[in-house]
């Protein structure tokens, strides 16, 4: 098997396993490690593909590959990782979008698509800043739905994976996703010309 070059790998994996086992402190230690890696990867992408749509799934997966020793982690610990990564990804991307908007006054914000393939032309990616604000608004009365969107959109998780992270059934997550998406769509189409 290939050698591991990063000393962080066992550390992250160990923390994930510890967190999975109920060690709350592990999350505190884990977050900055994942954060640094995600930022590094995101920046590399952002500088390279300035006008390209950014594929967050690719970023999170790359971080996953860099940070976790797949031999030693089971899916559950990876689910935790995706959970953390999704939140951090949102922070990084929205932060970047806000920074760009400041630089390019009146700009469109920063657009992101999760799709790995070209989508129908109608599938315009949402404005990240508006999405972020809407998610905050949603979280005020339904935090869980906001989290589902975060996991699926920013973390690139499937329904099944999201259910795993939330320790819930797929069916429940699927219908909650429908409602959350509908609410967001309605919310964003009110004030955003993007949709």
């Amino acid at each position: 098997m290939p050698e591991k070059s990063s000393p962080q790998i066992p550390e992250v994996t160990g923390l994930l396993i510890a967190w999975g086992g109920g060690d709350r402190d592990a999350l505190e230690q884990l977050t900055p490690l994942v954060d640094v890696e995600l930022r590094r990867i995101a920046e590399a992408y952002l500088s390279r593909e300035s006008d390209q749509l950014l594929q967050t799934t690719a970023l999170v997966n790359e971080a996953w590959m860099r940070l976790i020793d797949w031999q030693k982690s089971n899916w559950q610990s990876r689910a935790h990782f995706f959970g953390v990564a999704a939140s951090l990804m949102r922070k990084i991307l929205v932060g970047e979008a806000r920074r760009r908007r400041r630089l390019k006054r009146g700009g469109d914000g920063f657009q992101v698509s999760l799709s790995e393939v070209d989508l129908a032309p109608s599938a315009k990616p949402p404005d990240l800043i508006a999405l972020d604000d809407a998610l905050d608004a949603l979280a005020e009365f339904d935090e869980r739905k906001s989290r589902i969107i975060e996991l699926r959109f920013f973390g690139g998780l499937s329904v099944a994976e999201t259910a795993e992270v939330l320790k819930s059934s797929e069916r429940t997550v699927a219908r909650e996703w429908e409602l959350a998406k509908s609410w967001l769509y309605r919310e964003l189409s009110n004030d955003s010309p993007v949709l």
Partner: protein, 575 residues
């Protein structure tokens, strides 16, 4: 929003979603019981839901990437007629068809010498045009680096120019010829290559599904030959996939392969540390485990893995790993053995299957160690199969016992009925190499010498340890060798493992049916182990692995899984 109100909305929304469109209004009227605000909320949400199909698309790998690209159309630059993307030439005026050009270079002249005729392909890094070299009036393929990637991004530019330099070093009949490279005054970086008339292997597979053995092995050999030449120059491809392999149009319709895009190839002697895109370069479906792992050491054997996936797809008509998300794909690519090819194509000769499994071994050490070794292995297998084939066609059919016929290959590669095979022919089968998951260096030569000189003693000497090992494979050997099976010169049998694996040749010491049954049992147990492993039930998965190995100690996947689980349990117990 008020939390209570939201809960009411939620309940009604879910209930309504379950109902057919026509029944929703009546239901909502009753459920909201005159609460106009509530009704309005739910109605607008349901309405929004209908438009969210492409909103916030969940991440997924498209199983057929071509489905998306087929929505794009091609047009004839001359008459403007529209064609599907796979069409190459306009029916009316034989012009090369073009895609819609996002870079708007169509019709312009690049670097004062290349007139851009058509856009024939678009990729992540740039685009490929068909152009006319005005100086020598010859058609070339002109690849440009996406302009906004090239400008102000030295790293990408360097990668691109390196592609030109690397590819420029290679001259081989199965590698596309690079002619020229440069950068225009307005900053467009380009490479020109010979213009090839043909289809990509990807397109061919999309239209043909899968290939017969002859065709697949023919293509495989040519790719291996190209890789061998590149590896000799210390260049590895790193992104080998059907879309990067061109099948030229030839007058006799035979396949002439050209490997494209040694684009992200890297010089082996170079250090990898300064490459920021080390991990994710490559196409995940065809990328080897070490390419998908942090700090994985990528070398020529990585190309062998990718080629294994291509070979699998050519024969099986599908990719070995199918999944709905990238993370799942990576997981499979890193940890699971490909499903046996014989499961989707039963007539697959076991030798071919074994070769593919070796090419796709997770550990590079277990793969053929070079493209030339791969070619040698393949030649040898083909020669063996040919011997079979010719023997079969010369032989009258004979009765076989039911147990012996269970594993007989159908059609083309069915083994000979030995009662009618002369001693000389039998000897050829008996001297087949022993497949043990390790390269048998020089054994081809040794065996050839054996056949030619007929040094029987030497043969026996070599065969002896193998027979012992095989005995150990069978936990419950019940000897009933010759009930209805034709007689063979018994002394020579032990070395003929490949033949034995097919369950047709008898052995004086081991019941072949038993051996097969054990192998089958081992495979079943491995499957159980894998399923348990996926569920996280490591203890029982480990037990199943151990059991599996009892039935077949040489089942590499079981061995690997056993090690992996042991490691996991160690970590879990330490925490």
């Amino acid at each position: 929003m008020d939390k209570d109100q939201w809960q009411r909305i939620e309940t009604i929304f879910y209930a309504a979603m379950e109902l057919p469109q026509g029944e929703r209004h009546e239901f909502l009227r009753q459920a909201c019981a005159g609460d106009e605000a509530l009704l309005g909320e739910v109605l607008t949400l349901l309405d929004a839901n209908r438009r969210t199909e492409t909103f916030l698309p969940p991440a997924a790998l498209s199983p057929t990437p071509s489905a998306a690209s087929s929505m794009r159309m091609k047009h004839c630059p001359k008459c403007g007629k529209i064609y599907p993307t796979l069409t190459r030439v306009c029916q009316d005026d034989r012009e090369i068809l073009s895609l819609k050009d996002p870079y708007q270079l169509l019709g312009s002249t690049l670097a004062d010498k290349y007139k851009i005729l058509a856009l024939v392909g678009v990729g992540g890094m740039g685009a490929v045009y068909c152009a006319q070299h005005l100086g020598i009036d010859r058609r070339v393929a002109l690849k440009i680096l996406q302009p906004n990637l090239a400008i102000g991004n030295e790293y990408v530019l360097e990668l691109f120019t390196r592609e030109a330099k690397l590819a420029g070093r290679l001259t081989h009949e199965n590698i596309v010829d690079v002619k020229d490279a440069g950068q225009t005054s307005d900053g467009i970086a380009y490479i020109t290559m010979e213009w090839l008339e043909g289809r990509t292997l990807d397109e061919e597979l999309a239209s043909q599904g899968r290939f017969d053995f002859q065709r697949a092995t023919g293509i495989l050999k040519q790719i291996a030959s190209a890789l061998s030449a590149a590896h000799a120059e210390r260049i590895i491809h790193r992104d080998l996939k059907p879309a990067n392999i061109m099948l030229l149009d030839t007058p006799d319709r035979s396949d002439h392969v050209k490997v494209l895009d040694f684009g992200i190839g890297k010089i082996l002697s170079e250090t990898t540390a300064n490459s920021p895109v080390s991990a994710l370069v490559g196409t995940p479906q065809y990328a080897c485990p070490e390419q998908l792992t942090v700090g994985g050491h990528v070398d020529g054997r990585s190309d062998i893995y990718s080629l294994g996936v291509i070979f699998y797809r050519m024969l099986g008509g599908e990719l070995p790993f199918k999944c709905s998300s990238i993370s799942e794909l990576l997981q499979l690519q890193l940890t699971s053995a490909p499903p046996p090819l014989s499961a989707i194509r039963p007539e697959t000769p076991p030798e071919i299957e074994a070769l593919i499994n070796r090419m796709m071994a997770k550990d590079p050490v277990e793969r053929p160690q070079s493209a030339s070794e791969l070619s040698r292995l393949l030649d040898r297998i083909l020669a063996e199969l040919k011997v079979y084939e010719s023997a079969t066609t010369n032989v009258r059919p004979a009765k076989l016992s039911p147990s012996a016929t269970t594993n007989v290959r159908p059609a083309k590669f069915s083994p000979p009925e030995l009662s009618h095979v002369s001693v000389a022919e039998t000897r050829v089968f008996q001297t087949k190499p022993v497949w043990r998951g390790k390269p048998f260096l020089g054994s081809a030569i040794v065996l050839a010498m054996v056949i030619v000189a007929g040094i029987y003693g030497l043969y026996r000497y070599r065969a002896q340890p193998v027979s012992e090992e095989r005995n150990s494979v069978v936990p419950t050997p019940t000897a009933s060798p010759s009930q209805s099976v034709p007689t063979v010169e018994p002394t020579a049998t032990p070395g003929s493992e490949l033949v034995a694996g097919k369950g047709v040749l008898p052995s004086p010491t081991i019941n072949q049916a038993q051996l097969l049954a054990n192998q089958k049992k081992a495979a079943e147990l491995l499957k159980q182990a894998q399923a348990l492993y996926k569920q996280g039930d490591y203890q029982n998965a480990l037990r199943a692995c151990d059991e599996s190995l009892k039935f077949n100690p040489r089942l590499t996947e079981a061995r690997q899984l056993q090690q992996k689980i042991t490691e996991i349990l160690r970590v879990l117990n330490n925490r």
